[in-house]
C-alpha cells in the first residue's frame, strides 16, 4: 500500500510538469500533502503516538491546508496571472521529468542496502531533482516557491524512510519545513508583492557586476 501511495506521489510530479495554471500547482501540492499523510500513517508504526500525531498534523494541516490556502491568497492578493509561463514547452518538460525518474532508478539500482526501501529513495530523489527543475524553468517567483515546496516534500519522503529508527530526524525535517516556508512565504512574498508589481524573476536582476 505504501508503494502504491508513493508511486501516486511520483505521478503527481508528471502532472505538475505539464500543468498550465498556477491553481493546478497549488492543488497538486495539497494532494501531495494528503498522500504524505497516509504514507506517514502506514510507515511510521514504531514511534510513539504523540510524535506520530504531531507528524500527521504537520502533513495534513501545514502541507495540505495552510500552505495551499496561503499560496492561493497570495495569487489573488498580488493579482498574479494564472499561467505558469514555463521557459520550455510542456512536452519537453514531460520528457525531462521522465528522464529524471529513469536516472534516479538507475542510481538506486547501483546501491545495495537492505535497510532502505528503494522506492522511498527513488521517489525522494526524483522529487528533489524535479523541484530544482521546476525552479529553473518557470518564470514567476511564486513558482520558485512552489518548486521549493516540492523539494521539501521530497526530503520529507526521504526522512520517512528512516523515520522508525530516528524519529528525531523527521521532527528536524518538519522544523526545517515550517521555518523555511514561513520565512519565504510569510515575510518575503508579501513584501515582494508590494514592491514589485508584476512578480516576475526578470525584475530581480538589478544586482549584478557589469
Amino acid at each position: 500500500m505504501i508503494h502504491v501511495l508513493l508511486i501516486t506521489f511520483l505521478i503527481t510530479l508528471f502532472y505538475m510538469a505539464i500543468a498550465n495554471r498556477l491553481m493546478t500547482y497549488i492543488k497538486v501540492l495539497a494532494l501531495q500533502g494528503v498522500i504524505l499523510f497516509f504514507v506517514v500513517f502506514l510507515q511510521l508504526n514504531k514511534i510513539d503516538t504523540l510524535n506520530l500525531i504531531f507528524i500527521l498534523l504537520e502533513t495534513i494541516v501545514f502541507k495540505s491546508l495552510a500552505v495551499p490556502i496561503f499560496l492561493g491568497y497570495l495569487l489573488k492578493r498580488n493579482n498574479i496571472t494564472r499561467e505558469a509561463e514555463p521557459f520550455l514547452p510542456n512536452f519537453v518538460s514531460l520528457v525531462i521529468t521522465t528522464f529524471i525518474v529513469v536516472i534516479t532508478i538507475l542510481i538506486s539500482n547501483t546501491i545495495k542496502d537492505d535497510n532502505l526501501d528503494k522506492i522511498f529513495f527513488v521517489v525522494a530523489l526524483s522529487t528533489l531533482f524535479f523541484g530544482l527543475y521546476l525552479i529553473a524553468t518557470r518564470r514567476k517567483i511564486i513558482t520558485h516557491v512552489m518548486g521549493y515546496m516540492v523539494i521539501e516534500n521530497g526530503v520529507f519522503v526521504l526522512s520517512l524512510a528512516i523515520g522508525n529508527e530516528m524519529p528525531m530526524l523527521v521532527n528536524l525535517g518538519i522544523m526545517l519545513d515550517i521555518f523555511a516556508s514561513v520565512l519565504i512565504l510569510g515575510i518575503f512574498l508579501n513584501k515582494i508583492g508590494d514592491v514589485f508589481k508584476d512578480v516576475d524573476v526578470d525584475q530581480l536582476s538589478n544586482l549584478k557586476d557589469y
Binding site: 546501491i111 530516528m166 519565504i184 515582494i192
Partner: protein
C-alpha cells in the same frame, strides 16, 4: 555556561527588538558584548569540556570563537556610528541590533556544537538573522538581495538536511544513531561508503552557501553588498568561518576513511572553480563592496585548496581563515567611511581618497596589501604554506595555474584600489565632503596589526591550538 549564554543572548535580542529608548538599546548591545567576551574567556578556561551534551569547547571552536568575539566589538562600534550617521528610526535600529545579537549568538553556538544536526540548526538561525540585516534599507535592491539570499540559503539548508539523512543511513550499518562528530569518527570503519559519499556531497554543497564556494556562492555576494557594512563585515568573515567549520568537522571524519582521496578531489575542484570564478568577477566588477566580497571567495578557494592538499595545508587553512577574518572585516568596516565621503560604491565615481580622508586611505592601502597577501601581511605566511602543501602533494600544474589566477586578482584589485586612492574622480563635487574623525579607523588598524602579528610571530599557545585542531586528520 553555554546555556546561560544562549538564554542571555536570546533574552537580550528579544528585549532589544521591543526597545525604543536610545541609551537603553545601546547599553543592552554593550551588555551583549560583555556577555560574549565573558563566555569566550570562560571557554578558554574550560578547554575540552562538554556542556549540554551538544557543545564542546574544542580547539577549533574556541579559536574561532575568540576571532568572532574580537571582531564583534568593532562591529558594534561601527554599527553605532552607522546608525547615528543614517539617523535610523527607533524600530529599524531595534531590529538591526537584535538581529546582530542573534547572528553572533548563532555563529558562536554553531562553532562549538559537536553534533552535525545542532550545527545545522544554528546555521538555519544565521539565515534568519542575516536576512533581517540584509533587508535593513527596506528598498527594492535590498529586497532583491534578501530574497535571493533567503531562497538560496533555504535550498542549501535543505541540502545539508538531505546529507544528514544519508549520513544516518550510513550510520545505520554501524548500528548506531548518534550523529555527533566524535561517534562518527569512532565508527568510521563501519560507515557505508556509498551513503557516506552522498552525505558528503550534499553537506558540502549545502555549506558552500555560507562558506562562499562554487556552486552556492552567489547569494552571499548580494548579501554582503546590500547589508550595512558592519553586518557585511560579519557575513564576509565569521559567517564564512561557520560554513568552514561545518565542512571541516565532517571532512575530518571522511578523511579517516578510504574515501579521503575522493573527498580531496571534490573539495579541490570546488576550490579551484571558486578561484577561477572569483578571478573572472574581480576583473569585471565595478562596485567596490562587491569586489571585497569576491576577494573573500578567492580566499576561501585558497583555504579549501589547502584542506584538499593536506599535510601542512590543514594548519595553514585554519591560520588563513582566522587572519582573513581580521583583514576582511577591517576592509568592510572601512567601507562606510568611503561611502560617507563619496556617497557611491562605483569605482567610476570615487577617487583621490587620500585627499579627503588620509587615515581611512591608509587603512584601505594596508588592507589591500594584507588581502593580497603581500609581505608583511600575515596572510602571506598562510598562503605560502598552502602553496607549499600543494607543492608537497605534487600538484605543480595546479599550483602554477593558481598562481596565475592570483596574479590576475592582484592586478584587478590593485588597479581598482589605486584608482580609489590616487586618481581624482571625474565630476566629483568636493565642496561639502564630510570630515571623518581619524579615531573611527583605530579598530581597523588594530585588526590589521593583529593579522600581521599572528602571521609573522604567532604566540606558542596559538600555534598549539592550531595544531590541536588538525591533529585528528591523517598527515
Amino acid at each position: 555556561m553555554i546555556g546561560v549564554y544562549l538564554l542571555g543572548a536570546v533574552a537580550i535580542a528579544i528585549i532589544l527588538f521591543f526597545s525604543r529608548n536610545k541609551i537603553f538599546v545601546y547599553s543592552l548591545a554593550g551588555l551583549f558584548v560583555v556577555l560574549q567576551s565573558l563566555f569566550t574567556i570562560y571557554t578558554c578556561f574550560h578547554y575540552d569540556a562538554t556542556e549540554l551534551i551538544y557543545f564542546s569547547y574544542d580547539s577549533l571552536g574556541v579559536i574561532l570563537l575568540i576571532t568572532l568575539s574580537i571582531i564583534a566589538i568593532p562591529a558594534f562600534i561601527h554599527s553605532y556610528i552607522y546608525i547615528e550617521n543614517h539617523h535610523e528610526n527607533p524600530p529599524t535600529r531595534a531590529i538591526y541590533l537584535a538581529s546582530m545579537v542573534l547572528l553572533i549568538m548563532a555563529i558562536s553556538a554553531g562553532y562549538l556544537s559537536n553534533h552535525i544536526a545542532v550545527t545545522w540548526i544554528f546555521t538555519e538561525i544565521t539565515t534568519l538573522s542575516a536576512s533581517a540585516l540584509i533587508y535593513h534599507h527596506r528598498n527594492k535592491l535590498a529586497l532583491e538581495g534578501t530574497w535571493k539570499y533567503v531562497f538560496i540559503c533555504a535550498i542549501s539548508i535543505t541540502f545539508i538536511f538531505i546529507g544528514i539523512l544519508f549520513l544516518s543511513l550510513s550510520l545505520q550499518h554501524a548500528g548506531s544513531d548518534d550523529l555527533s562528530f566524535r561517534n562518527l569518527l569512532a565508527r568510521r570503519a563501519e560507515l557505508n561508503p556509498v551513503w557516506l559519499r552522498m552525505a558528503f556531497l550534499f553537506i558540502f554543497t549545502g555549506f558552500t552557501a555560507k562558506l562562499g564556494l562554487v556552486p552556492m556562492f552567489t547569494a552571499g555576494i548580494d548579501a554582503k553588498d546590500k547589508a550595512p557594512a558592519p553586518a557585511g563585515a560579519l557575513f564576509a568573515t565569521v559567517l564564512m568561518n561557520l560554513g568552514f567549520v561545518g565542512i571541516f568537522r565532517f571532512y575530518i571524519v571522511i578523511a579517516n576513511t578510504p574515501l579521503l582521496h575522493w573527498a580531496q578531489l571534490v573539495v579541490g575542484s570546488a576550490a579551484f572553480l571558486s578561484l577561477f570564478v572569483s578571478t573572472v568577477y574581480m576583473l569585471k566588477v565595478k562596485n567596490i563592496k562587491r569586489m571585497f566580497a569576491y576577494s573573500g571567495i578567492e580566499h576561501m578557494g585558497i583555504v579549501m585548496l589547502g584542506v584538499a592538499a593536506g599535510g601542512i595545508g590543514y594548519y595553514a587553512a585554519i591560520l588563513h581563515i582566522i587572519l582573513h577574518a581580521f583583514v576582511k572585516s577591517s576592509l568592510f568596516f572601512q567601507f562606510n567611511q568611503l561611502y560617507r565621503v563619496f556617497q557611491d560604491k562605483s569605482i567610476y565615481h570615487i577617487g583621490n581618497y587620500f585627499k579627503y580622508n588620509t587615515t581611512g586611505a591608509m587603512v584601505l592601502l594596508l588592507g589591500f596589501i594584507s588581502a593580497t597577501a603581500m609581505p608583511p601581511s600575515g596572510l602571506f605566511v598562510s598562503e605560502f604554506l598552502i602553496f607549499k602543501s600543494l607543492f608537497d602533494a605534487g600538484q605543480i600544474i595546479l599550483l602554477i595555474v593558481v598562481l596565475l589566477l592570483l596574479t590576475m586578482i592582484i592586478w584587478a584589485f590593485g588597479k581598482n584600489i589605486f584608482k580609489v586612492l590616487f586618481v581624482p574622480a571625474v565630476g566629483f563635487d568636493d565642496s561639502n565632503v564630510e570630515k571623518i574623525s581619524p579615531w573611527e579607523s583605530l579598530s581597523q588598524f588594530i585588526l590589521l596589526a593583529t593579522a600581521v602579528y599572528l602571521g609573522l610571530n604567532p604566540p606558542a599557545i596559538f600555534v598549539q591550538m592550531l595544531n590541536e585542531s588538525v591533529k585528528l586528520l591523517p598527515m
